[in-house]
Amino acid sequence: MKWKTTIVVSTAIFMLFGMAMPVLAGADPEIGKAALAFSGTDSSGDSVKLSDFRGKIVVLEWSNHDCPYVRKHYGTGNMQSLQKKWTQRGVVWLTIISSAPGKQGHVTGEEADDLTVSRGASPTAVILDPEGTIGRRYKARTTPHMFVIDSDGILVYMGGIDDKTSSSWSTVEGATNYVDAALRAVEDGEQPAVPVARPYGCSVKY
């Protein structure tokens, strides 16, 4: 009985701290504030830090290639054309995979590179985040979940890639692409008209 109570109490304390911590640390990503620093390893095994790209506009894209919502954007070529358009204009595009080992979307560096080739994608780098450290830091909840950071390192957009929260491929055409809009605004030195939108898709498989 006593033992049980101890477990319950310590669980409760653990839960309390677990929930309170992000707030105390003020660690949530916030629009208009400096984007949270991170470092990780890319598909070639090289270390990548957000600070490596100071002075450049950075896009973070959470991905899981088997998620139907990710498949919508890659199957229609929507994600690739956005990557191509903006990386050609000097934007740094980081695709981040936070699926845990054994879970959907988890890939090795080699598999990640194969996916980049087979899908005709053009990210600057694919970051492997199997422990979910970067994902949790950014509170990435869905695949895709998108973030745009301006050249001063300020977070200016977070949310879904567009306004059509569906897995149907037919919804890509005619959608309002919030990431494209945010990048256009940032390029013009303006604030995105929509800085936050609902991220939609599969849950990140932490």
Binding site: I31, P68, M158, S166, G201, C202
Partner: protein, 307 residues
């Protein structure tokens, strides 16, 4: 138990819900009934490659009086561990969608959403349904529609089911019904299911709920005139809109003589002031036979507004 009579309308206890699930009609029997009666003709879902859920279109009535409103529903049966989503799905997912193809003059309303369950996935929180959910939709037959005519209600539905992974499902369904002169004809096969689902729908909350918010926290004050503190086990709110609260946040409850207060971390839209805030409130109360759940719909007022 005293003083709760206003609230204690027919609500299912958890135990009752379990019983209801256990009583689920065997599928072969249902199929046989469908074939025999010819009432419901579910077409095989288009995405049959992953059959982890089954959708069907069911009706509370077999015969309806022209000019009246009746309920039809998308009934979703999901395999163990799979779930679908509420109108606000929470941190991920997508709510089911139904597109109606009705005869001339018939009009479909919106889905009458049952209150969702909280489904935690690691640090994420989803709002949705497991096992089985009946998504009822009111349909109104035109006044001019004559009696003794048969008509077909068609629907295309899409719903997402997830367990560890997510699989979009879809189906095309049709339901043959007929018009009657005066006495509506009940569909005995589904009557009990519709009755139970209707009783569990959120009722309008009888008092005014107020809220105040800053960038960190949303505070909701729920008057508890009809409840004694001993009985309140838990109160949960489910906003209709995305981003108002952090869905995974603890909903910290304090109970005082006059009200129940919930404090919840703001969601991604914490930079925006909350102009309006509506959703569903679920009160879990301890009763002799377990925990009774009551769901209410509310539209909260800003604390400053004294109107």
């Amino acid at each position: 138990m005293s003083g709760t009579s206003n609230f204690r309308r027919l609500r299912a206890t958890r135990r009752e819900r379990e019983t209801r699930r256990a009583l689920k009609t065997p599928r072969i029997f249902v199929l046989a009934l469908l074939i025999l009666t010819g009432i419901s003709l579910p077409v095989t879902p288009l995405d049959a490659s992953a059959e982890v859920s089954r959708g069907s279109l069911v009706s509370e009535m077999m015969g309806v009086v022209p000019g009246s409103t009746f309920l039809v529903a998308l009934l979703l049966d999901m395999d163990d561990g799979w779930h679908t989503y509420w109108r606000n799905p929470g941190d991920s997912g997508q709510p089911p969608e139904i597109e109606w193809l009705l005869p001339d003059g018939f009009q479909a309303g919106e889905i009458l959403w049952p209150h969702p369950e909280r489904m935690r996935y690691g640090t994420l929180m989803n709002y949705g349904f497991e096992n089985r959910v009946l998504l009822q939709v009111p349909i109104t037959a035109p006044v001019w529609y004559g009696p003794d005519r048969s008509f077909v209600v068609r629907a295309e539905a899409r719903w997402l089911v997830c367990r560890e992974i997510c699989i979009p499902q879809e189906g095309r369904f049709e339901l043959e019904m007929r018009s009657v002169e005066k006495d509506p004809l009940v569909n005995e096969q589904w009557q009990a299911l519709f009755g139970a689902a209707r009783d569990a729908l959120p009722a309008p909350f009888p008092e005014v709920i107020r809220y105040s918010a800053d960038a960190e926290e949303l505070t909701i004050s729920i008057p508890r005139t009809h409840l004694t503190s001993r009985e309140i086990d838990r109160v949960w709110i489910y906003p209709y809109e995305w981003g108002i609260i952090d869905h995974a946040s603890a909903q910290r409850m304090t109970v005082s003589a006059g009200e129940v207060t919930l404090r919840i971390h703001r969601g991604d839209r914490r930079y925006e002031p909350i102009e309006a805030f509506s959703g569903v409130l679920v009160i879990e109360e301890r009763i002799e036979s377990g925990v009774a759940e009551q769901a209410f719909e509310f539209s909260a007022r800003k604390q400053e507004d004294e109107s």
